[in-house]
């Protein structure tokens, strides 16, 4: 049945922009988790707001200028969230920290909805509007661009981590906060830096995704959830794992509609992803057994 195969291929091709964006989101989540042991539920919102900023400024500064401003805003947002919310809740319970990031998520969504409304808009695209035909599907140049930018960003951040002094400090602080302090590294500062980078990545992902899909305060903010699943698949601490996870998640979302009537139902991909997430969590859940909590 060639048309089934063709559908499959088309659906794979259509996941390209998603994979790129999820890679960037998952990387940001991994950065933040390693630096401050927080699952940043506001990450999607930290992508959405800069995307809207770029959209709003595009007419004044042009696409590239607006994107640069938005990226800066994204980095700044990361630092602000870390200092204002996360750092202050560090001594509180994990519940409070999570609720804190959820609060940020809600605040950013509400602000964006107030400012730009809840009608989907087309985000700023850095790439010319050129489309390829792949079978029946249309693929935009920007979609491929998103993936390429994501991979470049991943490479740049991995290099930064591996080869610079700052990267060394960040890895030390992530590996062992106390030992890092004993070396003279200020882990608070490296944590802020990690949030800054994660904010930059989120902004980049948000702008890319806003260009290839649509900008919507709520939908875009929740695009972080597939990225969560990606990061979970990769084990939350591994950069390479996050990239692999993003591919798995992207393919899951893209391929489910190819599987018969059930797959074509509205929301079936999300259902499949949720199932995948629960399976991954249950498997990884062993790490949080009661015996661990009893302490050594």
């Amino acid at each position: 049945m060639p048309h089934v195969l063709r559908d499959l291929l088309i659906n794979v091709v259509l996941t390209v922009p998603l994979v790129g964006a999820y890679t960037m989101f998952a990387l940001g989540l991994v950065f933040i988790y390693r630096a401050s042991k927080v699952l940043n539920l506001a990450h999607g919102a930290m992508a959405m707001l800069p995307a809207y900023i770029a959209y709003a400024l595009a007419s004044t500064f042009g696409a590239i200028g607006a994107t640069l401003v938005a990226l800066l805003a994204g980095g700044l947002l990361g630092v602000v969230v870390e200092i204002v919310v996360v750092r202050r809740l560090r001594s509180a319970s994990a519940t409070s920290q999570t609720v804190g990031t959820v609060g940020v998520l809600g605040l950013l969504i509400a602000l964006a909805a107030r400012q730009w409304g809840t009608t989907p808009v087309q985000g700023v695209s850095l790439f010319p509007r050129h489309t390829f035909r792949v079978g029946n599907a249309l693929l935009q140049l920007g979609d491929i661009g998103t993936l390429v930018v994501a991979l470049i960003a991943a490479a740049v951040f991995i290099a930064l981590f591996r080869f610079t002094d700052l990267g060394l400090a960040m890895r030390c602080a992530a590996d062992n906060r106390r030992a890092a302090r004993l070396m003279g590294i200020d882990p608070d500062r490296t944590t802020s830096m990690a949030w800054c980078f994660a904010g930059l990545l989120a902004a980049l992902g948000g702008i890319m995704l806003g260009a290839s899909t649509n900008l919507h305060p709520y939908t875009l903010s929740l695009q972080v959830l597939p990225a969560f699943v990606a990061a979970l698949i990769g084990g939350l601490e591994s950069i390479g794992g996050a990239v692999v996870g993003a591919v798995v998640v992207g393919l899951t979302l893209g391929l489910v509609p190819s599987f018969g009537q059930i797959g074509k139902q509205v929301g079936a991909p999300q259902l499949a992803l949720a199932a995948l997430a629960f399976v991954v969590m249950s498997l990884r859940g062993n790490r949080f057994s009661v015996a661990d909590m009893a302490g050594a």
Partner: protein, 754 residues
Amino acid sequence: MVPSECHATRGRDVRASPIRARQVVIAWLVLYFPWLPGFPLNRWLPSVPFSYIVDANLAGEYALVAFSLVILTGWVGQISLGQGSFVGIGAFTTGILARRFGIPFPLNLPLVALVSAGVASMLGLVALRVRGLYLAVATLIFAWMCDAYLFSQQWFVGKAAASSIPNTVIGHPGTMTTFDLSNQRVFYLVVVTAVATAWYAAVNLRDSKTGRAFFAIRGSEVAAVSLAVDVTRYKLLAFAVSGALAGIAGNLIMTNVRVATPVVFQFTVSLFYLSIAVVGGINSLGGGVAAGILFAALTEVFYRVKTLTGWRDIVAVALLLGVLLGYPGGLGALGTATERRFRGVTKWLSRLIERPIAKGSAMLRRRRPSDGQIGTVTPVPVEVGDRRQRRPGTSRAAAFAQRLPTRRSRSPVIRRSIDLSVLGRTALEPNSAVDVREMTAGDDVETARASWRTMVIPPYPLAPDRSERPPVLEAEHVVVRFGGLTAVNDVTVVVREHEIVGLIGPNGAGKTTTFNAIAGLNEPTSGTVRLFGVDATKFPVHVRAQMGVGRTFQLIQLFPQLTVFDNLLVATHVHNPTGIFSHLALMSRAIASEADARARVRLVVEMLGLEEVASRPTAGLPFGILRQVEIARALVTEAPLLMLDEPASGLDNAETDELAQLLYFVRSQLGVSILLIEHDVRMVTAVSDYMYVINRGEPLADGTPSEIQSNPEVIAAYLGQAEEPKSAANDSNGRHISSDASIAGVEQGAEVLT
């Protein structure tokens, strides 16, 4: 209004509970009557504007969702970011029931509650595997999945993505008894009834065995499970209760508005609900109601004032963040603080209200014979903190033993070990051979209060030959491997009746791993653990606790949000046969068992002289007292075997002495057997009857304390060697210190000891 939240952790006496029920009824009547159709007061009262009634209904629905979050997140510590989805499931299920099956309002409510409770407990299954951050993400993914899938299915939400139901009219139209639910004023009665009932049931739940199990899970799961709380069951229960409440809220919304669209229940709504609960103070039911009213008012204001349109969600989430960062107690804590400031006024008010109620309830009680027992079930000889009432000549231990009712548990494992619980009972009877003399005369109140602290305790009459003492705990040839690493290899520990047994070893020797294998926290790779003669190797922790094992923890695992008294009350869980429904409805069985639990705790409090700290929260108490409270908590379970994990760590010399005295005292009074892990070898050698030494995961020696103290291998393991032993050249992995390495340091140490 219903009794305020401020007493939540103050160990309030359960006898207040019937009063609470009457208060709820009165509060309900007060809120109900002014709007009752045809009620004459309507003519004199200023008529309430229609929109206010709508807002009041909204506030009631918010309050119900806030309750569901308070119970799940505030009490059990299980964070949920998908509460809006449960509300949505409730609303759409109502739609299906009403449209497809024609089940009208009052009848579909319990069904809807059941359905959403079922869905919530399915999500709860995930919570059994993951905690904290991961659970938050799991609930978030659940909400997202509901948004994307469930709420877009036509069979679930109805055609054109909107579910609608016909109106419900109860009674004949046009008569005084008509209840037309499309009338907001009528619906107000329904909402007030629902909120009042939920509030009443939730408060009952909070002050019951179930509520304490919830708090215990939040405070420390490992401590909860060691107090025989079945964590799995109670977590699922919490999810079910929370889901049911959210579903009821959904049911009410649907019945009221009669049309629902998925967009009303998307994730941002979950956030809005979470904001309500957090702003109310995540633990506080009253705060939930207050926050519900506040947020309904906000909704109204932001709707009315045109310039503010669209700012409601921003303000709501900003409030959430502000409360979280600045005033974590929320409105609940604000209420408590305010009440404290105006205590005189509130006291006067509550006396004004409660006196007639108490009279009324006394009358009611006379009519109901089952209630009549409430007063007589608790002839506690002594009130907490007041020793003057104590009857002279009554041995507290005798009173304690007398008060132990025999209870049968429904668990099959326990049924197998009924004779064991008999063993436990006999062990708890005071040993008549022991003469407890008090050193000081009764005129010195201070010393009399802390009598065990100054008592001279004679040696316990143990059988001289150790093999004659019947074994209580036999852990034999226990091996624990983590992956490839052997943490404990072939360790055997036996505790015999009435013994105090010490388990010592240097840092990293595997003491705690052995201990956890015995307690059931990790399963041994091989070997057996027998408790009271029954093979318990495969039993989960809470079952071992039910069999009669009480324990303490190296890092104290008291429940930080509770008072000392409430901490001890949690330990009565194992004796309490009542179930959640008797708690919710505050049946007389629940009241009686609650009184029994309190009496039991009072006895232990009194026996250990903890009266002064009983009503204080554990936070801020001296560490030595906290250790004693933890031991007291283990005693409340009436476990014949106590396992103490490094009880002296963190204590100074005087506190360590007091601890040793306490161990002697409880053994002499109650005949418990004690297994003690310690790295403070001096303390162990002073109190133990028998000792085991392990080193690097292997058994090193066992014997009486004096045998251990003069054992050269033990000395070498503890003090190290002065120089490199010549024989150690081939001992590259350092697993064992050869016994022929007689080095200067060891000899010297041995000389000093003898």
